[in-house]
């Protein structure tokens, strides 16, 4: 059976399952639409949250990022898992007890203020929108590579599917679809890792392979895999794999900002509103993190394996003797080779092959049959360009795994992109229909009208997201990640936290803190990402990590302003006491 046939079969099968689930869980009431009536088991909710959390970017790019930057990439690993400890101990049990539909509901009620609500709505929409754009792009790219269609068509097909099952099934449909997607993702991530670990280290468990010996040169010549990698890296002029190039302060700030940002992302928080009680929130959070850890613990192994494989197979090989996967990905424009010293052999070393970010291929072929690049070449001796994103997708091919494994990985990529997009879409539409329309603009909206608005809003958001998926403001999409996490870290996380733990904090403090926290973070990121053409960061803190500083600023401002203004009303103080009590959540 050909590769295409396998791809169609596995992806088609998984789609049939997703749509079938959505049809079975058709909803009518607002409660069901938003939070699935709280009737989802902890384990199912854990898997669903994990699937929603791991986006196409995480799934496709993370292992590639680790492969390329070694220790530096630990900031993502720790940041995106450690955030769940903050989320579970500080935020979600209390918000679940509070018992409303959205995060913005909490801000509006706790601080008795439409302004706080409005600031919250704007943040929620902005964070979700930047996130979802990247997802639609991801769906489009995967489809395009798979079925050899235009990215535009790919984005449109993806949007139609997401809209279909998100708006029909609501939160319940999304939750059960995500359970199925998690299962697809976990298999498609771990199976190739197990095979590759066996090949390189003789160890069945990839995590043990990572700390084990590299045995491909025979048992006598066995050295620890990471040492082998450090050697290869040093020989070719890269930084040692187990040592980072980021400053310690920057590493600290970025990791902390990602952690706090994770704990403030509305589409993650809202997942915990779907379980029955505060007790169920705790076990659901355990399951979520365990499900995420399964993939996050595999990623470093996969990254190290991919890196070793790639350098071993590519460096100092003649172009005509390369394995088939190299030519496949070259044809799709994601690998490129420029024979700078004209010896017909690939030299892979530190440094960029050419000026600029993306390779531009001409139509001609060079003397060895390679695709010629039209970019301006750099001075260094590196001849091999590769797109980091291909490492996960190309890994099974590199290791010569069977075709169905390759197809499974493709199905996993699609599942990752769709599951995150659907969850985000729901938060986005809820923000508009519930937080904005019902609570601010038109308070006498009936339940039924509200669901209509939610569907309309999700349609409009999807059209916008699809538009940007097709015409990405290319430099912007990659940089928006810093925005989403920085803004969540400097707005939602500290404000919600103080709303729960400090009764004395009032609306003036909260609004001032949020506005200044976000304002600072937003300006810093915008200035360095779009206006400054230098990177003389303050104290060497990059835009990725500035959300941490913004968060501290938020804490300080909120505390000072609150202590200078009157305490919140008796009612509010009683409400805060009430949400601290774990039993009786509705």
């Amino acid at each position: 059976m050909s590769q295409e046939l396998w791809n169609y079969l596995l992806i088609g099968l998984s789609f049939a399952v997703y749509i079938g689930i959505a049809l079975r869980s058709k909803v009518a009431s607002t409660t069901e639409y938003y939070v699935a009536s709280g009737g989802v088991s902890s384990f199912a909710n854990g898997m669903a949250t994990a699937a929603g959390w791991m986006s196409a970017a995480t799934f496709i790019s993370m292992a590639g990022g680790i492969a390329a930057s070694g220790y530096n990439a630990s900031r993502f690993l720790m940041g995106w898992t450690g955030g769940f400890v903050l989320l579970t101990t500080l935020i979600v049990p209390y918000l679940r007890k509070f018992g409303k539909f959205t995060v913005v509901d909490f801000l509006g009620d706790r601080f008795e203020s439409t302004t706080a609500r409005l600031v919250g709505v704007v943040c929620a929409i902005f964070i979700s929108m930047t996130y979802i754009m990247g997802q639609m792009r991801g769906v489009g790219l995967v489809f395009a590579r798979l079925f050899e269609i235009e990215v535009t068509t790919g984005v449109l097909i993806g949007s139609a599917i997401v809209f279909f099952y998100a708006s029909i099934g609501g939160m319940k449909g999304i939750t059960y679809t995500q359970v199925a997607q998690y299962i697809v993702m976990v298999f498609s991530y771990t199976i190739p890792a197990v095979f590759i670990s066996l090949l390189l280290t003789g160890n069945v468990i990839p995590q043990l392979g990572l700390i084990g010996n590299y045995t491909q040169d025979g048992a006598e010549a066995a050295v620890p895999l990471l040492e082998k990698l450090n050697q290869l890296n040093t020989e070719l002029g890269f930084a040692r794999y187990t040592e980072g190039s980021l400053s310690q302060l920057d590493m600290f700030c970025i990791t902390a900002a990602l952690m706090c940002g994770t704990a403030g992302l509305p589409h993650v928080i809202v997942r915990f509103f779907t379980v029955k009680s505060v007790k169920a929130v705790r076990s659901s959070a355990c399951w979520t993190l365990a499900c995420i850890a399964l993939i996050y613990l595999t990623a470093p192994a996969l990254g190290a394996f991919a890196r070793t494989n790639f350098m071993n197979e590519v460096n100092e090989s003649a172009y005509t003797d390369l394995p088939q996967w190299f030519y496949n990905w070259e044809d799709r424009g994601l690998i490129g080779w420029v024979d700078k010293n004209q010896d017909g052999i690939l030299q892979h070393q530190a440094g960029e092959v050419f000026e600029g970010r993306v390779p531009e291929f001409g139509t001609e072929r060079g003397p060895h049959g390679e695709r010629l690049l039209t970019n301006t070449l750099s001075e260094n001796e590196n001849e091999v360009y590769y797109d980091r994103d291909i490492l996960v997708m190309a890994n099974p091919e590199m290791a010569g795994l069977p075709k169905w494994v390759v197809a499974l990985v493709m199905a996993g990529c699609v599942a990752a992109a769709l599951s995150t997009a659907a969850g985000l879409l729901l938060v986005l539409s809820t923000s508009i229909s519930h937080d904005l329309m019902k609570k601010i603009i038109k308070p006498n909206l009936t339940d039924k009208e509200e669901v209509h608005y939610a569907r309309l809003a999700s349609f409009v958001s999807l059209v916008i997201a699809a538009y940007f998926g097709i015409n990405p403001p290319s430099a912007i999409v990659a940089k928006t990640v810093a925005f989403a996490f920085g803004l969540a870290a400097s707005s939602f996380f500290p404000t919600i936290l103080m709303g729960i733990f400090f009764k004395r904090v009032n609306k003036f403090g909260a609004i001032a803190g949020m506005v200044i926290g976000i304002g600072f973070t937003f300006s810093y990121i915008t200035y360095f990402q779009f206006f400054a053409n230098h990177s003389n960061y303050w104290f060497g803190i990059s835009p990725e990590g500035i959300g941490f500083v913004g968060m501290i600023l938020n804490f300080v401002i909120t505390t000072i302003v609150s202590s200078l203004t009157p305490a919140p009303s008796e009612n509010i103080q009683a409400m805060v006491e009430e949400i601290r009590v774990p039993n009786g959540a509705k």
């Binding site: 680790i66 220790y71 630990s74 690993l77 720790m78 898992t81 450690g82 769940f84 400890v85 903050l86 579970t88 101990t89 500080l90 049990p93 995590q207 043990l208 990572l210 700390i211 084990g212 010996n213 050295v223 620890p224 895999l225 990471l226 040492e227 187990t242 040592e243 310690q248 590493m251 600290f252 990791t255 902390a256 952690m259 009680s277 505060v278 007790k279 705790r282 076990s283 959070a285 355990c286 993190l289 365990a290 850890a293 996050y296 613990l297 470093p300 733990f501 006491e577 601290r580 009590v581 774990p582 039993n583 009786g584 959540a585």
Partner: protein, 89 residues
């Protein structure tokens, strides 16, 4: 009034649990993985073929997070029971 005292005792005990959990959380991640990484890499025994600090940053911290949440869940559920604040099934 009795209910109020139980609630307040529960709240203070739960804050102690949260502080303990987050202390460990900070130590295993930002501590071992970032601040003391050089020391762990150089002066302490490696985990298999991986320097300890590097291993903590890429594997150990994540494993610890999962264990910490399981511990949190256990301690909080026990606390709820002690103060009679758990949900009737």
């Amino acid at each position: 009034m009795k209910e109020k005292t139980a609630q307040s005792a529960h709240w203070h005990a739960s804050i102690r649990i949260v502080i303990g959990i987050l202390g460990l959380w900070f130590f295993v991640s930002l501590g071992c993985g970032v601040l003391f990484r050089d020391f762990l890499d150089e002066s302490l025994p490696p985990v298999g073929g991986a320097p300890l600090g590097f291993w903590m940053a890429q594997q150990g911290s994540i494993i610890s997070f999962v264990l910490l949440l399981i511990l949190y869940r256990f301690l909080m559920n026990r606390l709820d029971k002690k103060h009679g604040l758990e949900d009737a099934v």
